[in-house]
Amino acid sequence: MADASTRPPARRRLLVSGLLLGAGVAGAVDEIVFHQLLHWHHFYDRASGAAGLVSDGLLHAGTFSAAVAGMALMADARRRGRFLPPLWWGALLTGAGAFQTWDGLVHHKVLRLHQVRYGVDLTGYDVAWVLPGVLLLVAGVALLLRARRVPAA
Protein backbone atom coordinates (compact mmCIF):
# COMPACT_ATOMS: atom_id res chain seq x y z
CA MET A 1 0.00 0.00 0.00
CA ALA A 2 1.58 3.28 -1.12
CA ASP A 3 1.49 6.04 1.46
CA ALA A 4 0.76 9.67 0.63
CA SER A 5 4.41 10.64 0.11
CA THR A 6 5.09 8.02 -2.59
CA ARG A 7 1.95 8.61 -4.66
CA PRO A 8 2.26 11.11 -7.54
CA PRO A 9 1.15 14.48 -6.25
CA ALA A 10 -2.22 15.70 -7.47
CA ARG A 11 -0.63 18.77 -9.08
CA ARG A 12 1.55 16.66 -11.32
CA ARG A 13 -1.41 14.51 -12.32
CA LEU A 14 -3.35 17.65 -13.32
CA LEU A 15 -0.37 19.02 -15.25
CA VAL A 16 0.16 15.75 -17.16
CA SER A 17 -3.58 15.44 -17.86
CA GLY A 18 -3.72 18.98 -19.30
CA LEU A 19 -0.60 18.52 -21.46
CA LEU A 20 -1.83 15.20 -22.87
CA LEU A 21 -5.37 16.43 -23.51
CA GLY A 22 -4.08 19.68 -25.09
CA ALA A 23 -1.86 17.82 -27.55
CA GLY A 24 -4.67 15.35 -28.21
CA VAL A 25 -7.26 18.04 -28.91
CA ALA A 26 -4.91 19.97 -31.23
CA GLY A 27 -4.13 16.72 -33.07
CA ALA A 28 -7.82 15.86 -33.39
CA VAL A 29 -8.67 19.34 -34.74
CA ASP A 30 -5.86 19.00 -37.29
CA GLU A 31 -7.08 15.57 -38.35
CA ILE A 32 -10.81 16.34 -38.46
CA VAL A 33 -10.82 19.87 -39.88
CA PHE A 34 -7.85 19.95 -42.23
CA HIS A 35 -7.56 16.32 -43.30
CA GLN A 36 -11.18 15.11 -43.32
CA LEU A 37 -13.42 18.20 -43.77
CA LEU A 38 -11.38 20.66 -45.85
CA HIS A 39 -9.12 18.09 -47.55
CA TRP A 40 -6.34 20.71 -47.53
CA HIS A 41 -3.75 18.34 -46.14
CA HIS A 42 -2.91 15.25 -48.14
CA PHE A 43 -2.86 11.82 -46.52
CA TYR A 44 0.67 11.35 -47.84
CA ASP A 45 2.05 13.44 -50.68
CA ARG A 46 5.14 11.21 -51.19
CA ALA A 47 7.46 14.20 -50.70
CA SER A 48 8.93 13.14 -47.36
CA GLY A 49 11.35 10.39 -46.46
CA ALA A 50 11.23 7.56 -43.94
CA ALA A 51 12.02 9.81 -40.98
CA GLY A 52 9.00 11.96 -41.78
CA LEU A 53 6.69 8.95 -42.03
CA VAL A 54 7.87 7.52 -38.71
CA SER A 55 7.58 10.90 -37.02
CA ASP A 56 4.07 11.39 -38.40
CA GLY A 57 2.97 7.90 -37.34
CA LEU A 58 4.30 8.46 -33.82
CA LEU A 59 2.65 11.89 -33.62
CA HIS A 60 -0.72 10.65 -34.93
CA ALA A 61 -0.88 7.60 -32.66
CA GLY A 62 0.63 9.60 -29.80
CA THR A 63 -1.89 12.45 -29.92
CA PHE A 64 -5.05 10.37 -29.98
CA SER A 65 -3.65 8.08 -27.28
CA ALA A 66 -2.74 11.19 -25.29
CA ALA A 67 -6.30 12.52 -25.55
CA VAL A 68 -7.76 9.34 -24.03
CA ALA A 69 -5.10 9.19 -21.29
CA GLY A 70 -5.56 12.91 -20.55
CA MET A 71 -9.31 12.48 -20.06
CA ALA A 72 -8.83 9.53 -17.70
CA LEU A 73 -6.19 11.37 -15.65
CA MET A 74 -8.39 14.48 -15.50
CA ALA A 75 -11.34 12.42 -14.24
CA ASP A 76 -9.03 10.92 -11.62
CA ALA A 77 -7.71 14.34 -10.56
CA ARG A 78 -11.28 15.61 -10.21
CA ARG A 79 -12.41 12.74 -8.05
CA ARG A 80 -9.40 13.46 -5.83
CA GLY A 81 -10.98 16.89 -5.38
CA ARG A 82 -7.94 19.03 -6.13
CA PHE A 83 -8.82 20.62 -9.45
CA LEU A 84 -6.83 23.85 -10.00
CA PRO A 85 -8.20 25.62 -13.12
CA PRO A 86 -5.14 27.84 -13.90
CA LEU A 87 -2.79 24.87 -13.70
CA TRP A 88 -4.99 22.63 -15.82
CA TRP A 89 -5.82 25.26 -18.46
CA GLY A 90 -2.17 26.33 -18.58
CA ALA A 91 -1.13 22.74 -19.22
CA LEU A 92 -3.89 22.29 -21.83
CA LEU A 93 -2.83 25.39 -23.80
CA THR A 94 0.86 24.44 -23.52
CA GLY A 95 0.15 20.96 -24.88
CA ALA A 96 -1.96 22.30 -27.75
CA GLY A 97 0.56 25.04 -28.59
CA ALA A 98 3.48 22.61 -28.54
CA PHE A 99 1.68 20.27 -30.92
CA GLN A 100 0.72 23.06 -33.32
CA THR A 101 4.21 24.59 -33.35
CA TRP A 102 5.92 21.22 -33.81
CA ASP A 103 3.49 20.25 -36.57
CA GLY A 104 3.93 23.56 -38.40
CA LEU A 105 7.70 23.86 -38.11
CA VAL A 106 9.10 20.34 -37.99
CA HIS A 107 6.49 18.36 -39.90
CA HIS A 108 5.51 20.81 -42.59
CA LYS A 109 8.82 22.62 -43.08
CA VAL A 110 11.76 20.47 -41.90
CA LEU A 111 10.46 16.97 -42.71
CA ARG A 112 8.16 18.27 -45.51
CA LEU A 113 5.59 15.63 -44.59
CA HIS A 114 2.70 17.51 -46.12
CA GLN A 115 1.86 21.18 -46.54
CA VAL A 116 -1.00 23.23 -45.11
CA ARG A 117 -2.56 23.55 -48.54
CA TYR A 118 -1.63 22.77 -52.13
CA GLY A 119 -1.56 24.97 -55.20
CA VAL A 120 -1.31 28.26 -53.29
CA ASP A 121 1.46 30.53 -52.00
CA LEU A 122 2.30 28.95 -48.66
CA THR A 123 3.86 31.86 -46.74
CA GLY A 124 0.59 33.24 -45.35
CA TYR A 125 -0.73 29.77 -44.54
CA ASP A 126 2.45 28.81 -42.72
CA VAL A 127 2.38 31.98 -40.62
CA ALA A 128 -1.32 31.38 -39.88
CA TRP A 129 -0.43 27.84 -38.85
CA VAL A 130 2.57 28.45 -36.62
CA LEU A 131 1.63 31.82 -35.08
CA PRO A 132 -1.48 30.56 -33.21
CA GLY A 133 0.65 27.65 -31.99
CA VAL A 134 3.26 30.00 -30.56
CA LEU A 135 0.53 32.19 -29.00
CA LEU A 136 -1.10 29.16 -27.38
CA LEU A 137 2.28 28.04 -26.09
CA VAL A 138 3.08 31.47 -24.60
CA ALA A 139 -0.39 31.77 -23.01
CA GLY A 140 -0.11 28.28 -21.59
CA VAL A 141 3.32 28.82 -20.08
CA ALA A 142 2.17 32.17 -18.62
CA LEU A 143 -0.82 30.47 -16.96
CA LEU A 144 1.43 27.68 -15.64
CA LEU A 145 3.79 30.26 -14.10
CA ARG A 146 0.82 31.98 -12.46
CA ALA A 147 -0.50 28.66 -11.19
CA ARG A 148 2.83 27.98 -9.46
CA ARG A 149 2.13 30.89 -7.15
CA VAL A 150 -1.30 29.51 -6.17
CA PRO A 151 -0.85 27.32 -3.09
CA ALA A 152 -2.29 23.81 -3.37
CA ALA A 153 -5.79 23.97 -1.90
Binding site: L58, A61, F64, V68, A72, D76, R80
Partner: protein
Protein backbone atom coordinates in the same frame (compact mmCIF):
# COMPACT_ATOMS: atom_id res chain seq x y z
CA UNK B 1 -15.34 -24.44 -44.16
CA UNK B 2 -12.54 -25.22 -41.72
CA UNK B 3 -12.96 -21.70 -40.32
CA UNK B 4 -16.65 -22.32 -39.62
CA UNK B 5 -15.91 -25.64 -37.86
CA UNK B 6 -13.18 -24.02 -35.73
CA UNK B 7 -15.51 -21.13 -34.89
CA UNK B 8 -18.28 -23.51 -33.79
CA UNK B 9 -15.77 -25.44 -31.64
CA UNK B 10 -14.51 -22.22 -30.02
CA UNK B 11 -18.04 -21.00 -29.36
CA UNK B 12 -19.14 -24.39 -28.01
CA UNK B 13 -16.13 -24.74 -25.71
CA UNK B 14 -16.71 -21.30 -24.19
CA UNK B 15 -20.47 -21.74 -23.67
CA UNK B 16 -19.86 -25.22 -22.23
CA UNK B 17 -17.34 -23.76 -19.79
CA UNK B 18 -19.81 -21.09 -18.61
CA UNK B 19 -22.19 -23.93 -17.58
CA UNK B 20 -19.44 -25.59 -15.55
CA UNK B 21 -18.19 -22.28 -14.09
CA UNK B 22 -18.26 -22.28 -10.28
CA UNK B 23 -19.68 -18.72 -10.12
CA UNK B 24 -22.28 -16.98 -12.30
CA UNK B 25 -20.57 -15.85 -15.52
CA UNK B 26 -21.53 -12.41 -16.95
CA UNK B 27 -23.66 -12.71 -20.07
CA UNK B 28 -21.85 -9.72 -21.62
CA UNK B 29 -18.60 -11.70 -21.64
CA UNK B 30 -20.25 -14.64 -23.38
CA UNK B 31 -21.75 -12.23 -25.94
CA UNK B 32 -18.31 -10.67 -26.46
CA UNK B 33 -16.75 -14.10 -27.10
CA UNK B 34 -19.43 -15.13 -29.58
CA UNK B 35 -19.13 -11.80 -31.41
CA UNK B 36 -15.33 -12.14 -31.52
CA UNK B 37 -15.52 -15.67 -32.90
CA UNK B 38 -18.07 -14.56 -35.50
CA UNK B 39 -15.91 -11.60 -36.54
CA UNK B 40 -12.87 -13.86 -36.98
CA UNK B 41 -14.87 -16.44 -38.96
CA UNK B 42 -16.38 -13.80 -41.24
CA UNK B 43 -12.94 -12.31 -41.84
CA UNK B 44 -11.31 -15.64 -42.72
CA UNK B 45 -14.20 -16.96 -44.81
CA UNK B 46 -14.69 -13.66 -46.62
CA UNK B 47 -12.48 -10.66 -47.24
CA UNK B 48 -9.12 -11.88 -45.79
CA UNK B 49 -8.93 -14.26 -48.74
CA UNK B 50 -9.20 -11.41 -51.24
CA UNK B 51 -5.45 -10.90 -51.54
CA UNK B 52 -5.65 -9.08 -54.86
CA UNK B 53 -8.07 -6.34 -53.72
CA UNK B 54 -6.42 -4.46 -50.88
CA UNK B 55 -9.68 -2.76 -49.82
CA UNK B 56 -11.46 -6.04 -49.05
CA UNK B 57 -8.26 -7.51 -47.67
CA UNK B 58 -7.79 -4.64 -45.20
CA UNK B 59 -11.41 -4.86 -44.03
CA UNK B 60 -10.67 -8.50 -43.24
CA UNK B 61 -7.34 -7.62 -41.64
CA UNK B 62 -9.02 -5.11 -39.29
CA UNK B 63 -11.72 -7.64 -38.36
CA UNK B 64 -9.33 -10.54 -37.78
CA UNK B 65 -6.32 -8.75 -36.31
CA UNK B 66 -7.97 -6.01 -34.22
CA UNK B 67 -11.76 -6.23 -33.76
CA UNK B 68 -11.96 -9.98 -33.09
CA UNK B 69 -9.00 -9.94 -30.64
CA UNK B 70 -10.55 -7.02 -28.71
CA UNK B 71 -13.88 -8.87 -28.35
CA UNK B 72 -12.16 -12.15 -27.43
CA UNK B 73 -9.93 -10.49 -24.81
CA UNK B 74 -12.93 -8.76 -23.20
CA UNK B 75 -14.52 -12.22 -22.83
CA UNK B 76 -11.72 -13.15 -20.33
CA UNK B 77 -11.34 -16.75 -21.54
CA UNK B 78 -8.45 -17.58 -19.19
CA UNK B 79 -10.44 -16.45 -16.14
CA UNK B 80 -13.33 -18.60 -17.34
CA UNK B 81 -11.06 -21.62 -17.83
CA UNK B 82 -9.57 -21.21 -14.35
CA UNK B 83 -13.06 -21.15 -12.84
CA UNK B 84 -14.57 -23.92 -14.96
CA UNK B 85 -11.76 -26.51 -14.86
CA UNK B 86 -11.55 -29.00 -11.97
CA UNK B 87 -9.28 -27.50 -9.24
CA UNK B 88 -6.28 -29.74 -10.02
CA UNK B 89 -6.34 -28.87 -13.72
CA UNK B 90 -6.96 -25.20 -12.98
CA UNK B 91 -3.81 -25.20 -10.84
CA UNK B 92 -1.88 -26.85 -13.68
CA UNK B 93 -3.11 -24.16 -16.10
CA UNK B 94 -2.10 -21.43 -13.64
CA UNK B 95 1.38 -22.99 -13.36
CA UNK B 96 1.64 -23.16 -17.15
CA UNK B 97 0.76 -19.46 -17.42
CA UNK B 98 3.61 -18.64 -15.03
CA UNK B 99 6.26 -20.37 -17.18
CA UNK B 100 8.79 -18.08 -18.84
CA UNK B 101 7.63 -18.25 -22.49
CA UNK B 102 4.00 -17.51 -21.65
CA UNK B 103 5.00 -14.75 -19.26
CA UNK B 104 6.99 -13.09 -22.05
CA UNK B 105 4.09 -13.39 -24.48
CA UNK B 106 1.84 -11.70 -21.92
CA UNK B 107 4.23 -8.73 -21.68
CA UNK B 108 3.08 -5.81 -23.86
CA UNK B 109 6.72 -4.89 -24.54
CA UNK B 110 7.08 -8.28 -26.28
CA UNK B 111 3.59 -9.04 -27.62
CA UNK B 112 2.95 -5.64 -29.26
CA UNK B 113 6.28 -5.50 -31.17
CA UNK B 114 5.78 -9.15 -32.24
CA UNK B 115 2.35 -8.29 -33.63
CA UNK B 116 3.72 -5.26 -35.50
CA UNK B 117 6.74 -7.19 -36.83
CA UNK B 118 4.43 -9.88 -38.21
CA UNK B 119 2.47 -7.26 -40.18
CA UNK B 120 5.63 -5.69 -41.58
CA UNK B 121 6.86 -9.13 -42.67
CA UNK B 122 3.52 -9.93 -44.28
CA UNK B 123 3.22 -6.74 -46.33
CA UNK B 124 6.87 -5.69 -46.59
CA UNK B 125 8.13 -8.94 -48.13
CA UNK B 126 6.73 -11.07 -50.94
CA UNK B 127 4.68 -13.06 -48.41
CA UNK B 128 1.40 -11.29 -49.17
CA UNK B 129 1.71 -12.10 -52.87
CA UNK B 130 2.50 -15.77 -52.14
CA UNK B 131 -0.71 -16.19 -50.08
CA UNK B 132 -2.90 -16.22 -53.17
CA UNK B 133 -1.24 -19.42 -54.40
CA UNK B 134 -1.12 -21.43 -51.19
CA UNK B 135 -4.21 -22.16 -49.07
CA UNK B 136 -2.03 -23.70 -46.32
CA UNK B 137 0.20 -20.61 -46.09
CA UNK B 138 -2.89 -18.41 -46.18
CA UNK B 139 -4.50 -20.31 -43.30
CA UNK B 140 -1.25 -20.13 -41.31
CA UNK B 141 -0.98 -16.38 -41.78
CA UNK B 142 -4.64 -15.89 -40.81
CA UNK B 143 -4.09 -17.90 -37.63
CA UNK B 144 -0.96 -15.88 -36.87
CA UNK B 145 -2.77 -12.55 -37.39
CA UNK B 146 -5.53 -13.59 -34.97
CA UNK B 147 -3.21 -15.07 -32.31
CA UNK B 148 -0.67 -12.22 -32.46
CA UNK B 149 -3.50 -9.66 -32.34
CA UNK B 150 -5.03 -11.46 -29.37
CA UNK B 151 -1.72 -11.61 -27.45
CA UNK B 152 -1.01 -7.93 -28.10
CA UNK B 153 -4.51 -6.82 -27.05
CA UNK B 154 -4.52 -9.16 -24.04
CA UNK B 155 -1.13 -7.88 -22.87
CA UNK B 156 -2.30 -4.26 -23.12
CA UNK B 157 -5.73 -4.67 -21.53
CA UNK B 158 -4.74 -7.30 -18.92
CA UNK B 159 -8.34 -8.48 -18.43
CA UNK B 160 -7.20 -11.98 -17.49
CA UNK B 161 -4.90 -12.47 -14.50
CA UNK B 162 -1.19 -12.07 -15.29
CA UNK B 163 1.67 -12.83 -12.88
CA UNK B 164 3.64 -9.61 -13.49
CA UNK B 165 1.35 -6.99 -14.90
CA UNK B 166 2.93 -3.82 -16.31
CA UNK B 167 1.69 -0.46 -15.08
CA UNK B 168 -1.05 1.35 -16.98
CA UNK B 169 1.44 3.91 -18.39
CA UNK B 170 3.66 1.24 -19.94
CA UNK B 171 0.64 -0.59 -21.38
CA UNK B 172 -0.79 2.64 -22.85
CA UNK B 173 2.59 3.49 -24.39
CA UNK B 174 2.90 0.01 -25.89
CA UNK B 175 -0.57 0.39 -27.42
CA UNK B 176 0.37 3.79 -28.89
CA UNK B 177 3.66 2.39 -30.22
CA UNK B 178 1.85 -0.46 -31.94
CA UNK B 179 -0.64 2.00 -33.43
CA UNK B 180 2.23 4.15 -34.73
CA UNK B 181 3.79 1.12 -36.47
CA UNK B 182 0.37 0.35 -37.98
CA UNK B 183 0.01 3.97 -39.23
CA UNK B 184 3.48 4.03 -40.80
CA UNK B 185 2.87 0.68 -42.49
CA UNK B 186 -0.44 1.96 -43.91
CA UNK B 187 1.34 4.95 -45.48
CA UNK B 188 4.13 2.77 -46.86
CA UNK B 189 1.49 0.51 -48.46
CA UNK B 190 -0.22 3.63 -49.84
CA UNK B 191 2.99 4.67 -51.57
CA UNK B 192 4.32 1.20 -52.43
CA UNK B 193 1.42 -1.28 -52.78
CA UNK B 194 2.27 -5.01 -52.86
CA UNK B 195 2.72 -6.31 -56.40
CA UNK B 196 -0.44 -7.47 -58.13
CA UNK B 197 -2.97 -5.67 -55.90
CA UNK B 198 -5.69 -3.17 -56.78
CA UNK B 199 -7.37 -0.58 -54.58
CA UNK B 200 -4.14 0.03 -52.65
CA UNK B 201 -4.80 3.71 -51.87
CA UNK B 202 -8.31 3.12 -50.47
CA UNK B 203 -7.12 -0.06 -48.73
CA UNK B 204 -4.25 1.76 -47.04
CA UNK B 205 -6.57 4.56 -45.90
CA UNK B 206 -9.03 2.02 -44.53
CA UNK B 207 -6.16 0.36 -42.64
CA UNK B 208 -5.08 3.75 -41.25
CA UNK B 209 -8.53 5.04 -40.26
CA UNK B 210 -9.87 1.69 -39.06
CA UNK B 211 -6.70 1.11 -37.05
CA UNK B 212 -7.15 4.52 -35.42
CA UNK B 213 -10.76 3.83 -34.44
CA UNK B 214 -10.00 0.37 -33.03
CA UNK B 215 -6.95 1.63 -31.13
CA UNK B 216 -9.06 4.47 -29.69
CA UNK B 217 -11.63 1.92 -28.52
CA UNK B 218 -8.89 -0.23 -26.98
CA UNK B 219 -7.36 2.80 -25.24
CA UNK B 220 -10.78 3.81 -23.90
CA UNK B 221 -11.27 0.31 -22.46
CA UNK B 222 -7.74 0.35 -20.99
CA UNK B 223 -8.18 3.71 -19.21
CA UNK B 224 -11.73 2.98 -18.10
CA UNK B 225 -10.54 -0.26 -16.51
CA UNK B 226 -7.73 1.68 -14.81
CA UNK B 227 -10.16 4.37 -13.56
CA UNK B 228 -12.44 1.78 -11.95
CA UNK B 229 -9.58 -0.48 -10.75
CA UNK B 230 -9.35 -1.14 -7.05
CA UNK B 231 -5.89 0.46 -6.76
CA UNK B 232 -6.88 3.72 -8.47
CA UNK B 233 -10.15 4.04 -6.52
CA UNK B 234 -8.34 3.39 -3.24
CA UNK B 235 -5.55 5.87 -4.06
CA UNK B 236 -8.12 8.55 -4.92
CA UNK B 237 -9.99 8.03 -1.65
CA UNK B 238 -6.86 8.56 0.47
CA UNK B 239 -6.21 12.05 1.82
CA UNK B 240 -3.05 13.43 0.24
Amino acid sequence: MTAVVLALLAAGAYVGATWRCRSPWPLARTASWLAGVAAAAVAVAGPMGAHGDLRAHMAGHLLLGMAAPLLLVLAAPVTLALRALPPAEARRLARLLRTAPLRWLADPLVAVPLNAAGLWLLYGTGLHGALAHSPVLSAGVSAHVLVAGYLATASVLAVDPAPHRRGVGVRALALAGGAAAHDVLAKVLYAHPPAGTVGAEEGARLMYDGGTVLTLLTAAVLWRRWYTSREAVRAAAQPA
